[in-house]
Amino acid sequence: MNSFDYLMQGFASALTPQSLMFALLGVLLGTLVGVLPGIGPAMTVALLLPITFSVPATSAFILFAGVFYGGMYGGSTTSILLNTPGESASIITALEGNKMAKLGRGAQALATAAIGSFVAGTIGTVLLALLAPVMADWAVTLTSADYFALVVLAFCTVSAMLGASPLRGVASLTVGLALGLIGLDSVSGQPRFTFGLFELANGVDVVIAAVGMFAVGETLYVASRMRHAPPKLVPVNRTWWLPKEDLKRSWKPWLRGTFIGFPLGVMPAGGPVVTTFLSYAVEKKLSKHPEEFGKGAIEGVAGPEAANNAAVAGVLVPLLTLGLPTSATAAIMLSAFGSYGIQPGPLLFEMQPELVWTLIASLCIGNVMLLVLNLPLAGIWVKVLQIPRPYLYAGILVCASLGAYASSQSWQGLLVLLGIGMLSYAMRRYGWPVVPAVVGLILGPIAEDNLRKTLLVSQGDPAALVGTPFAQAMLALALLAITVPLIMKTRARRRLPGQRAAG
């Protein structure tokens, strides 16, 4: 059977009532959390992890992928109508989108975002279906040294590109790496940092750590600075399709956004967020109306919104074929694979073809659902913001505790959850990004494992780490990922003496 047959089979099982229900649930939840500021798809997937104990793998991943896609749609709505990005990949959308809304063109901004997301999501999913099997075939030959280099690249991009301060990013990453060291050493089987406590021998549970970092930390943070001012919505007029003029100005940015977003999603380059910045810069440069930028240019909404959705499809390529997550949400999905005893990697397409192709097929279906949900209903989604914060966060805290208890089956799990939640609160309070910590916790053991394996095979010769051309290329890119932003920053500082460097 070839990929096409598999994909058709995937559609057959994605169109069963159960799969459709999980896809719908996923996109609904995804849009919901996308709309709400501070709650993103990564936190939601983390909160949903305990369902992996009772739901079949395929359904769970349809749900998770729906949340991931849906978050990208929902985020734009809040950005445009509220000027508060619901989600970090929609920060750029607020720049032009909210200006458009204030000019009375909110409906057009929402429409270009939703249709752009749909176009990009669909093209991205097709590219995923085409590229992933090819990539899997090639990835079989990757050695431990290659994987180690890939993970190093992911570390560098995640900590250097996220957050205003690379130093805080690295510090946060170190917190995650340190947490990841707790438990049994995979090569010698000896316990490390367990303080003689048996409960720690299995390491810090990723479910508990992710839920604590994202959900409990955010809840404590929001509680510590409650504001009771109701959000100010920009009213929206009721045309739900793009006028010809806007369509003409949107379709090129949609396509450009797609082809910027997808490859950058595939690369370990910081996930969807980075692609939105890049797409915005490209649109600003190419626009025929550069004077409109900053005052409500539709291209500035269309491009980035397409880019972040295409990036999500791209992120799934290395996740499925290499077992390498390039964004926080993907990192948590990786740990979900773990709780099913499924190892994503080059062999996944051979061993679990139904899972993979059903997932890809339901992404296509989910995209259609999202278009229907978002285009006419954007106004309703915004009403979600009127849910009083205490109710919302109380619910999140209950889900978080249930999840932690379900995965550890002991009260000690709740203590760990609270401890990590407090740590996460402290990190937020002092402006440390929490994403690198979660990425470090999940990828750290993968990096260590591959490092140890490389050295084991080479009998201790560190030259083996740069022994393959692929490893050399990845480590060179990692070096660039650290140095380029630093150089750009210094240059920007020099060019604008006395002013604060952007970024």
Binding site: L29, N202, G338, G341, Q343, L456
Partner: protein, 326 residues
């Protein structure tokens, strides 16, 4: 207000799906065990989980137990599950275990051992396969062993977790063919399935794991099996010779069984033993063994208890030889 309702539905659905996994009740017969639980002290999907599911299936089909639940409690070497079992007060609880746990307890220096449990029955045995990548020059066991003897440290052997049955068999084979087990270079993975990638990338020269972990790749022509570890050839790989047939005098079965909590009354213990004994003689169980290519390794009573002690001593010896414990 009414508009907000739809958004509340989603979390409710979610809660419902969580609760759905916890409810179970059904009418029970006279001598059947109602609400039996089977703890799998590892991730879902592995050998223990499959055995527990087979047990659950046949016990229910034969009406020997009703409302049987299988649940997972992951931990290194299954020791987390063992600790949980030791503190349990439930008479209707079985823990899936096997050869892997015997070594896991030693390697993790667990305070609780299988002596702290009530052994019920040994159920199945699974043969392991020794494989090489299809593109290597080794056509048979002898060619591979010659290479291994020539470069013991540089010949990387891969398989599942450290101190797992795969690792131990590698040590045993080394010992048999005159290689110092301390010289063994073993590349561990999170499960035998993952070792396939290490073989295909060329990092490992040979792999040892359960036959089912490798059979797909052997059929696809990517791996070549050069020996199986059981007393008989495997039905999945009928043309592959056993280690004994190839003159090594070594049989090695990865056995799996069930134990119950410590301090079980004689009556409660007998009930569990009776249930698995009846299950063992049912045609449904024989069918399951055949389908999964598991050997029938049924053993109950004091024989099983003393078997565990023999296994413990043997595992301690090998782990010492390959330098994992002292």
């Amino acid at each position: 207000m009414t508009r907000r309702r739809p958004f509340l539905v989603a979390p409710l659905l979610l809660a419902a799906s969580l609760i759905a996994g916890c409810t179970s009740s059904s009418a029970s017969g006279d001598d059947s065990i109602d609400g039996l639980r089977i703890m799998v002290p590892a991730k879902p999907g592995g050998g223990w989980h499959q055995t527990a599911q087979a047990l659950q299936d046949v016990l229910q089909r034969e009406k020997l137990a009703t409302g049987v639940q299988v649940f997972n409690l992951e931990g290194p070497g299954g020791v987390a599950g063992l600790n949980k079992l030791v503190g349990e007060k439930d008479d209707e609880l079985l823990m899936q275990m096997g050869k892997v746990m015997v070594a896991g307890i030693i390697n993790n220096k667990s305070e609780k051992t299988l002596k702290d449990t009530t052994p019920i029955a040994r159920l199945t045995g699974e043969s392991l396969a020794l494989v090489v990548p299809a593109d290597t020059p080794f056509r048979n066991l002898e060619q591979f062993l010659t290479h291994w003897r020539g470069d013991p440290k540089g010949t990387v052997i891969t398989g599942g977790y450290v101190a797992d049955v795969d690792h131990i068999l590698a040590g045993l084979i080394a010992d048999r063919v005159g290689i110092d087990p301390a010289q063994l270079t073993y590349l561990p993975n999170a499960g035998g399935g993952e070792s396939v990638a290490r073989l295909l990338s060329g990092e490992a020269k040979a792999g040892i794991s359960g036959i089912t972990e490798y059979s797909e790749h052997i059929k696809a022509g990517k791996l070549r099996a050069i020996a199986v570890s059981g007393a008989h050839r495997s039905k999945l790989l009928p043309e592959v010779k056993t280690l004994t047939e190839q003159g090594m005098g070594l049989t090695y079965l990865n056995w799996r069984g069930v134990v119950a909590r410590p301090g079980l009354s004689e009556q409660a213990k007998q009930r569990l033993v009776n249930a698995v004994t009846k299950m063992h003689s049912s045609p449904a169980w024989k069918q399951t063994l055949k389908a999964k290519d598991w050997d029938d390794a049924f053993l109950v009573g004091p024989e099983f208890t003393s078997y565990i002690e023999t296994e413990d001593a043997a595992a301690r010896k090998v782990l010492r030889e390959i330098g994992l414990v002292n």
